[in-house]
């Protein structure tokens, strides 16, 4: 079953999809958050690849990991959700916790972003890029 990630906060579909249950291969991508920065800040994904992002938050403050293009990032930046229920590509990562989310990237996506939209975090530099190529 494939669930389209159709703009859960009112933005059009980004074309990302949850990992199908029977996905042949899922690559695990570890991203650490330290001092309110993503490390690595740039991730390479193959077209059509399914990636399981494991986000480790080593900070004593909460963060988010939101995958999507600039329109979706902007929508979250203006959003009002205090916390995100687990959705493909949209998770809250509490202080000191590790969370994961699995996303399949369409073949023709090109590039997209990931970011944190807790107050001031995006402007502080909590944004990274995903190159689908």
């Amino acid at each position: 079953m494939t669930i389209a990630l159709a703009g859960s906060i009112g933005v059009g579909a980004m074309g990302l999809a949850e990992d199908p249950a029977g996905a042949e291969s899922v690559r695990t991508v570890h991203i650490r958050i330290h001092f309110s920065r993503f490390d690595p800040g740039n991730v390479m994904i193959a077209p059509g690849e399914t990636a399981r992002f494991v986000i480790e938050n080593s900070d004593p403050i909460d963060h988010e990991f939101i995958v999507g293009d600039s329109r979706l990032q902007l929508a979250h930046e203006r959003g009002t959700e205090a916390h995100h229920a687990p959705r493909p590509g949209e998770i809250s990562v509490p202080a000191g916790a590790t969370r994961s989310t699995t996303v399949t990237f369409p073949v023709d996506l090109g590039a997209t972003l990931f970011g944190c939209h807790l107050p001031g975090h995006y402007a502080y530099g909590m944004v990274g890029t995903i190159e689908v190529s």
Binding site: D59, P60, I61, T80, A82, H117, G120
Partner: protein, 376 residues
């Protein structure tokens, strides 16, 4: 002090505040997870502090300003050591210092400081008027976790800033207005509560970087730092001489002179300020007017007369790690010392086998033995 100064002095009483971090719901949340004011995190007025250093004790006096009902405010201040006490500060000491150093009293903003809003060990708790004071010891994560669990809002730069301080001194003071007590005591919006922190420390410093917490890199941090020391202090970074240029940026040395008898007499006459020496103190006034992005250090003070402020205390150099997991190979040192001890024992045995019983291992053994004791 002139009559004009006296009159202005009286009018300044409620005007000062310290860095405050919003702790609770205060306004519309525009961003996901928002529990802060629309503009983000912190909205500071000018900060004013006095750091008096005398006989190895730093007396840190500052003021917190109540932001009004419906808003919970708090602040975290890094300290250079464990305070022996935290008490209410003088009622008008900070205002008197301003008048001493800025005779043409500038217009001060009276708006309230609307603030944005592991396990740390609680070392000390105190209630000062409507302020709840907690002195904490712990690393950056522990203190950050404590603050978050106690309702403090931490902006995104907080983890790095807390680490910056915890590396040098894991002591923090958290202050928070108690809304119920404030109402009972009829504390008015904008009313300041001075506190006085007594900190025995060989290396006094004044926290400056914390003033930039939660600010955009281009925002300007303004603060008045007064020092009262036995001799003219050496500071790091070195404060700049005033150029006369309007809006000069950086740390600007506005006053460096013997504290006048009238100043010391006035300060000592303030409530709870009798601990100040009667005379022979040096007054330094440093105006901080720096962009937040450049305020990545503190102000180290050497009031010994030797003129060597500590770069680590200033935050310009990192301390040498002291823990076993740090960069310094203490394990290897212990192993070397242990080998030395074995050599010592062997040497002594050999020495004891000597004809006079004192040769060979004696002097070497003494040194190695002391090293082993120290390492243990």
């Amino acid at each position: 002090m002139s009559d004009r100064r006296h009159r202005a002095f009286g009018s300044l009483l409620p005007a000062l505040s310290l860095a405050i971090v919003l702790a609770g719901p205060a306004g519309a949340a525009l961003a996901c997870g928002g529990l802060v004011t629309p503009n983000g995190t912190i909205n500071l007025l000018r900060t004013t502090t006095l750091a008096a250093y005398h006989q190895g004790i730093e007396h840190y006096v500052t003021s917190f300003e109540f932001a009004g009902q419906g808003q919970e405010v708090g602040s975290i201040i890094p300290l250079p050591g464990v305070p022996t006490k935290v008490v209410k500060g003088g009622d008008w000491t900070l205002q008197r210092l301003l008048i001493e150093t800025q005779p043409p009293v500038r217009e001060l903003a009276f708006d309230a400081a609307v603030a944005a809003s592991g396990t740390a060990e609680v070392l000390l708790e105190a209630e000062i008027d409507s302020l709840d004071i907690t002195v904490l010891e712990g690393g950056a994560v522990a203190v950050g976790t404590w603050a978050r669990e106690h309702g403090f809002f931490l902006p995104p730069d907080a983890p790095e800033v807390l680490q910056f301080y915890a590396e040098r001194s894991p002591i923090f003071l958290a202050a928070r207005f108690n809304a119920e007590r404030a109402a009972e005591q009829d504390v008015q919006r904008g009313e300041g509560t001075p506190i006085h922190v007594v900190i025995p420390t060989p290396r006094p410093w004044v926290p400056l970087r914390i003033l930039a917490l939660g600010r955009q890199a281009t925002e300007v941090v303004e603060a008045d730092v007064f020092l009262l020391t036995d001799v003219a202090p050496a500071m790091l970074p070195q404060a700049l001489e005033p150029t006369g240029e309007e809006g000069q940026s950086g740390l600007i040395l506005r006053t460096s002179e013997p504290a006048s008898d009238s100043l010391m007499r006035d300060l000592r006459s303030d409530s709870r300020m009798g601990w100040l020496p009667r005379r022979d103190m040096w007054l330094t006034y440093v105006e901080v007017n720096e962009r937040a992005g450049l305020l990545t250090h503190d102000l180290a003070i050497d009031a010994s007369g030797f003129g060597r402020p500590d770069p680590v205390a200033a935050g310009l150099a990192r301390p040498i790690p002291q823990d076993p997991a740090g960069a310094f190979p203490w394990g290897a040192v212990a192993a070397i010392v242990a080998v030395g001890a074995v050599v010592l024992l062997a040497g002594r045995r050999l020495g004891n086998r000597g004809h006079d019983g004192s040769g060979g291992g004696g002097p070497i053994g003494t040194g190695s033995g002391l090293g082993l004791e120290r390492s243990a």
